[in-house]
Symmetry: C2
Subunit: 320 residues, 2 copies
Amino acid sequence: MAKVCIGVDFGGTFIKFGLLDEAMNPGGMFQLPTPTGQGACAIVGQIVAGIRQLIDQQGLARENIVGIGIGSPGPLSPSRGVIIHMPNVSGMENLPMCELVSKELGIPARLENDANAAALGEFLCGAGGSTHNMILVTLGTGLGGGIICQGKIVHGSHEIAGELGHMIVQPGGRKCGCGQRGCIEQYCSATGITTHAVGQIRAGRASSLSALLEQNGTITARDINQASQARDELAVEIWDELTYFLALGCVNFSRIFDPDKIVFAGGMTKAGDDLLRPVRENYDRLNWQMADDKTEIAIASLGNDAGMIGAAGVAWNSLG
Amino acid sequence: MAKVCIGVDFGGTFIKFGLLDEAMNPGGMFQLPTPTGQGACAIVGQIVAGIRQLIDQQGLARENIVGIGIGSPGPLSPSRGVIIHMPNVSGMENLPMCELVSKELGIPARLENDANAAALGEFLCGAGGSTHNMILVTLGTGLGGGIICQGKIVHGSHEIAGELGHMIVQPGGRKCGCGQRGCIEQYCSATGITTHAVGQIRAGRASSLSALLEQNGTITARDINQASQARDELAVEIWDELTYFLALGCVNFSRIFDPDKIVFAGGMTKAGDDLLRPVRENYDRLNWQMADDKTEIAIASLGNDAGMIGAAGVAWNSLG
């Protein structure tokens, strides 16, 4: 039987489980609910239970399981296998996740932050196929990312590399929750653009979005996308700004890293060509003319499975 | 006898030669003039002659020479050992430098661009000592750089990574020779700041620098530094902008790469604390408050030897 690594993607609502074999084929995927509000032990217990269920379902022999990779929200330490802190979950401070899971199951385990795991997943099995250097930019509530350099995740010296959302693209620009000003997250994430839209409407700016805000109490990134398609002036302005700064960020990634591909993932990629086309146009316009720049911009292909697959990939990279 | 690699730093005026032993101790350094205006053969001949001279002087046996590393201005291909193009030197188009040198001497050779070689030199023997991840920013005529990730030079997918001078820090900002707008090189290199100063004076801006411009026909970065110390308004504005954008660039490098150290090299570092102090102050002010950021900003320590040492380091990394 082929050797496999087990991937676990620990999220706020679900924990996903699956396999990745030596040829990088994923399989056996299922998910269990995340036991929220019951503390750290319940979470570790659910992760262990899910792995046991996967082993049973797939009829895996211990000697064929190379290791377990666990993707998790941060902050965490991949090198120590420890979750440093988790907002909203008690008892997770300095939790030695790898040690606990590994002791329970007798299988070595590795920990990785979820954005990095997703980047490795897309690199191994998704949109990054056949690249050597790839950057994943997740466009969701926030803007996150992961950097793959010669097939390996870039962690940095304090394990906080790849905080792509906090690259400053507008000097003295909008205040970010991190304490900086002008972070790309403020211009290109769902929270960034909806907060800005609400602020503009509350300041008296006319827009078709104000009726939605009144009706729903909130505005979504999808609302802004749709209103911009209907030529609402504020929505067009915000969507143009989003695609402009995202393209500018990609130019910077190309100058610094020179990847084969920059891949967008996350909820905002549902906008599809409404997002990709103007980003590519802005990229070509903003980009240098010094060398034939071949960096491709694409949308991720694994959807919600990227994190689980990448987590298993982390185990392969480290233990395989 | 200890094994060594030979380093060659091929510059516009001099070619430098030296050794790097297994313990990363440099030695035997000397330089020969670059035979400019005599074509590619004369340059290759001078490199070979210098290496033979080094071997004789040091009494090196062939079996103790692991390899030769050659640092050179770009564009070039490290993986193919080929100089793609060299402005002002005829016959250098697609020159297979490594093959030519290697055939002549019977020693394997490797090629690296000079900024990357200098970065590796500082990493191995200079200001980067005991780091794992380091970024070198050269502040000279232009703004260049090199990225060391886990001890290796980051080359990227098309061998054009580390073009740090063309990171955009001011959207829609000053036009750069590369075709982009707002590149950090326009705000933080000697050419960038002196060009801006001359433009401001020609446009009628009052400054003590205008007398220097009239007298010398030009203004240097050193002139601007000195005038800013004397509180000349224009010079202060330009120096403040330089240290602001350099700090902003460093914040971005920290978010993306999370290095132990960012090291400044090149002619402008002669300003010493006039440069380093305000950059560090701006960095602390612009930097996030999300995590205890430990990236250190320092000035390079090897001076003009960094390129030769790093070139030998390239040979060690690849052939050792």
